[in-house]
Amino acid sequence: MSSATIPPQFEIVDRPLDTQMTISMGPQHPSTHGVLRLELVLDGEMVVKTTPDIGYLHTGMEKLFEYKKYQQGIVITDRMDYLNPLGNNLAYVMAGEKLLGLEIPERAQVIRVLFCELQRIASHLVWLGTHALDIGAMTVFFYCFREREKILNLIEAASGGRLTPSYFRIGGLMMDLPAGFENRCKQFLDFFPPAVDEFHTLLSGNKIFQRRTQGIGRISAEDAIDWGLSGPCLRGSGVALDIRRANPYSGYEKYDFEIPTEPDGDVWSRYMVRMREMKESHKIATQALARLQPGPIKADAPKVVLPDREAMKSHMDALIHHFLIVAEGFDVPAGEVYHPIEASKGELGVYMRSDGGPKPSRVHFRGPSFVNLSALPVMAEGEMVADVVAIIGSLDVVLGEIDR
């Protein structure tokens, strides 16, 4: 399937009394999912050329990492892709563990997988709610956020924060799960598949939704790979690539799940891919919950991982280690790593470079939304202005990750 092309009679020329105009959409706009500015060159209502202008949320996080110890940086990663904070945490923490060469215990890995999948479901729920809201279906927004509240309750029970949990640490987890968590999680997981079917009854059979999403914003598989798309945007064009299968991490090779793909490459395929992904995440989360065994949650590395509170209060060496780790940080061997994970939006990669001290020398996050948004001009050329809104929704961009 080729992407939409501009018919040959429309071309960009500078004729003042023409039907072409340049408008600026954003940065304050209800449908741009954050502070994104698009310069649209329109011919009537058809988009001839679009240029995204980003940087309105640039926070200088990568510079902040260089001034903070490794454990302090985890807090900053929450605020990057704020719909998938546990995924950001995981990527950063695993890059640090790769540099240090730590062995993570089994229970910690299973809990990490469980929370990553719950977070993926929560992120897709926000995507669905806001995407449908932009297209005009307001009910779905409230239904999705109702489900999301349940997930946020679970995350808050374990870590203390709804939106910025910072639950993972280099070497394991912050704390063990609270009592009764497995039951609550099981309750949510049992209740979730009928909710996804409910979303399908609300949207998938709706003729208006289908007309607004099918055939819009096509991108072919070769173009998608060339433009660096990843995650559901790439799988919506027919490429079965998932980092959890390609470069498995944290024990993902032991779980049984499918990789949903759709062949068309338009907004509808990306929608269907994400809906099916929610069901797959549910499958993985159920398997993880069944696999949960009691055990340690932190790696055996006393110079890196904080000791238990009880041990700290009674043993001198634990107290000393605690003090040194908190006050001075731990030294990480010099080197560089690039660790990619499959976040809810695509390939989230962390490039971490250390010079041997307690603070990193360079931390770079390869944000999937950054790369996905760069393909927007390709998808939006030849579409109507109203379709641009649908395309941005289907790309699932989060400006915090783009601008860092």
Partner: protein
């Protein structure tokens, strides 16, 4: 960074060995550490190396994951490096290419002709480090405001910037 002695001890992967047979002039140094392979490429060969690696049957690196700049330190020589992270969607292997640049001459050729996704990554590296990519179709600032002075992620740029914000 691993020392030269460790480089000779570890056997390079078959991929790097094959590349060394075909084009030895592209490989200035091979670093194998933490399970990853890094090839330091002299900057005049980067475009040729990238386009070769993209179509080479042994490599098939059709996916450019990331271009990442780094500043080694104000006193270091060479000061800047540009890392290209390559990935193959069919063979699932990864490779890092590194180009090192001196402070006085921060020009390197652009690889937007090889992978179109390099466009925004190179703009970001230019914006934050000041590395100039020759042949880039539209090299301008992307994250910082257009009238910003300086390059923010360089080590000599202070964390808090030079002046607080005021409306005037």
């Amino acid at each position: 960074m691993t020392s030269e002695a460790e480089n000779i001890e570890q056997t390079p992967s078959p991929l790097v060995a094959a590349l060394q047979r075909e084009h030895p002039e592209w490989i200035a140094e091979v670093i194998i550490a933490f399970g990853e392979t890094t090839i330091v490429v002299p900057r005049e060969h980067i475009v040729a190396a990238c386009s070769f690696l993209k179509t080479w049957p042994e490599g098939r690196f059709d996916f450019l994951a990331d271009i990442c700049g780094a500043d080694r330190g104000v006193e270091e020589e060479p000061r800047f490096e540009v890392n290209y992270h390559l990935f193959s969607t069919t063979k699932y292997h990864r490779l890092r290419l590194k180009v090192v640049l001196n402070e006085e001459d921060t020009h390197v050729a652009s690889v937007t002709g090889v992978w179109r996704t390099a466009n925004w990554h190179e703009r970001e590296t230019f914006d934050l480090f000041g590395v100039i990519f020759d042949g880039h179709p539209d090299l301008r600032r992307i994250l910082l405001p257009d009238d910003w002075q300086g390059h923010a992620l360089r080590k000599d740029f202070p964390l808090r910037g030079y002046e607080p914000y005021s409306l005037k």
